[in-house]
């Protein structure tokens, strides 16, 4: 076998994907605080424990299956999608649901029609909308920054020993809370501010910068996955181009009402979604043309949900909707076998 056609085992693919999350995870810990690290630990251990238990119940080999690292990857992805100071039991509910219901009840790795990590995330998002949108402002503008001990106390008890709760860490210098740039701009646009006015606010800019670097870090991890040929270029590229194109068209139509395309490309879960979530080999489309359609549709839906929908970010919903469509897309883009009749 030559260098470019080495067969990779599932565990190699999954483990490489886990490693590629490291830059993004570090950036997120840096800008969002220690809570992210604690979430990573809680989610990874829950996902692995849930997988072990359900495999035992299904009488499948536990150790061999756990070594494919797919449960670990699901746990890590959920953790990176969660707000940093989410109560611990919510993270546990999300991860167990993802592994037990969304993955193993459908037959385990390779049989799940939906991306398990996104099912777990959406379950939490629709069940606990307030906690699930309680993101922290960037450290540079935050009034208080939670230390590691305080983060642990907040996640496990809801209060620090000095009596502070999660909301007191969401305040910025002037006493207002700050959500993610996407959430913030959506609210501001609804109150009649123009896109340029929102972008001109200093606090908004500092917050946006944090998310910009987080997205850059995920982009680096994603590009290295692409160079290592763990993922194909089709889905991430078509997804990002589609986001860029749709948001540019909207800005051209009216630059006051819609956010500029760079903001949409480098905030929220765009890069994490494009490289790590939409590219899930099980639930994504598998044909060449199919992957392009799949990625582009996710990008389009992300912009539509972010701009016109009720939720601040739309990556999870867009991915799940296209997961449903993936088998149909594959059916209509199946390459014709050479010599066979056209249909």
């Amino acid at each position: 076998m030559n260098k470019f056609h080495q067969g990779r085992s599932t565990s190699q693919v999954m483990a490489t994907a886990c490693f590629a999350l490291i830059p993004g995870a570090f950036a997120q810990i840096y800008f969002q605080g220690w809570g992210v690290l604690i979430n990573l630990v809680i989610c990874a251990s829950t996902a692995i424990t849930a997988e072990a238990i359900i495999l035992k119940v299904r009488k499948k080999p536990v150790r061999e299956t756990l070594c494919d690292f797919s449960a670990l990857l699901t746990g890590l992805l959920i953790a990176l999608a969660l707000p940093p100071l989410l109560p611990w039991w919510m993270s546990i509910i999300g991860c167990s649901f993802a592994i037990i219901i969304a993955k193993q009840l459908y037959g385990g790795l390779g049989f799940n029609p939906f991306n398990p990590a996104m099912v777990g995330y959406v379950l939490l998002l629709i069940s606990f909308p307030i906690e699930m949108t309680a993101w922290l402002p960037a450290k540079s503008i935050a009034l208080e920054v939670a230390s590691l001990t305080e983060s642990i106390q907040l996640i496990f008890t809801g209060y620090t020993t000095s009596g502070m709760d999660v909301n007191s860490y969401r305040l910025i210098a002037d006493g207002f809370t700050m959500a993610t740039p996407l959430d913030e701009s959506k609210t501001a646009l609804a109150t009649g501010l123009m896109s340029s006015e929102i972008m001109a606010q200093a606090d908004f800019q500092s917050n946006l910068t944090g998310w910009f670097w987080i997205n850059c870090a995920f982009l680096i991890g994603g590009l290295s996955l692409m160079l290592l040929r763990i993922i194909h270029w089709h889905i991430p590229v078509s997804l990002l181009v589609s986001i860029w194109l749709t948001s540019t068209l909207l800005s051209l139509y009216d630059s006051d009402l819609f956010l500029p395309s760079t903001t949409l490309l480098f905030s929220g879960a765009t890069m994490l979604g494009a490289f790590f979530i939409a590219t899930d080999p099980v639930s994504a489309s598998t044909t060449f043309k199919g992957r392009l359609i799949y990625g582009a549709s996710i990008g389009l839906l992300i912009v539509i949900i972010r701009t016109f929908g009720g939720y601040p970010d739309g990556v999870a919903f867009a991915v799940l909707l296209l997961n449903i469509a993936a088998p149909t897309i594959d059916h209509y883009t199946k390459p014709r076998v050479y010599g066979s009749e056209t249909n």
């Binding site: 219901i101 379950l123 629709i126 069940s127 606990f128 909308p129 307030i130």
Partner: protein, 213 residues
């Protein structure tokens, strides 16, 4: 087969072997929509059982006079008149529950479980067995509604028998037991997706229990 044995068998069919919700998978629309709490489930279950028994008995009585070609419209009209009765009765005696169940009371007409029993059983059997069949099928349906409603209530808002006074009067207000104090409801269980997954798990549980060696 003696009559008692036949009745016993009908009950076993209705509640377990051929359960409307868990085996025939009929009447799922109201089942999924109103099982937010145990009491809501019980309320709709009783209403459905009443209609089922009424339509089964009536169809069985007049079965010799129904022209085969137009039997479905006749069944539907009979069922609709019983549903109207139920609706007026609930409006009069359990007004709050009537408001909660809302459109799903008139929609009992479209519950295929009822027309299914009229077509498959009542139009071929005498009054006695038809009455027992309606009662058994209704009981089976009510039980599933109650279990699913109870589960969703417990997971979603941490209570059991919330709103018991809607059916059993003011004395029942204290029946509600709180298992955990929810600051915020677990909305997934309260919303329709929770009903879909809850019903799926109940069916899985039944199949697992039946296939157990």
């Amino acid at each position: 087969m003696s009559t008692t044995n036949q009745y016993k068998d009908l009950f076993k069919q209705g509640i377990w072997d051929n359960n409307t919700a868990l085996v025939q998978l009929l009447g799922l629309c109201p089942l999924l929509a109103v099982t937010g709490t145990l009491i809501n489930g019980l309320g709709l279950g009783i209403a459905t059982t009443f209609v089922l028994v009424g339509s089964n008995v009536t169809v069985s009585i007049i079965r010799a006079h129904i022209p085969k070609e137009i039997r479905i419209p006749i069944f539907v009209m009979l069922i609709a008149s019983f549903v109207t009765n139920v609706q007026l009765l609930m409006n009069a005696f359990t007004y709050e529950l009537y408001l909660i169940l809302g459109i799903f009371i008139p929609l009992i007409v479209t519950n295929c479980a009822i027309i299914g029993r009229a077509e498959a059983f009542a139009s071929k059997n005498s009054v006695g067995p038809s009455f027992v069949d309606g009662l058994a099928q209704g009981l089976g349906f009510t039980l599933v509604l109650m279990v699913l409603g109870g589960l969703r209530e417990l997971v979603g808002q941490g209570t059991i028998l919330d709103g018991a006074h809607l059916i059993f009067g003011e004395t029942a207000r204290s029946w509600t037991s709180h298992f955990y104090l929810a600051d915020q409801k677990f909305l997934f269980a309260v919303l329709p997706p929770g009903a879909f997954i809850g019903l799926g798990l109940l069916i899985a549980l039944k199949n697992w229990y039946q296939n157990k060696p």
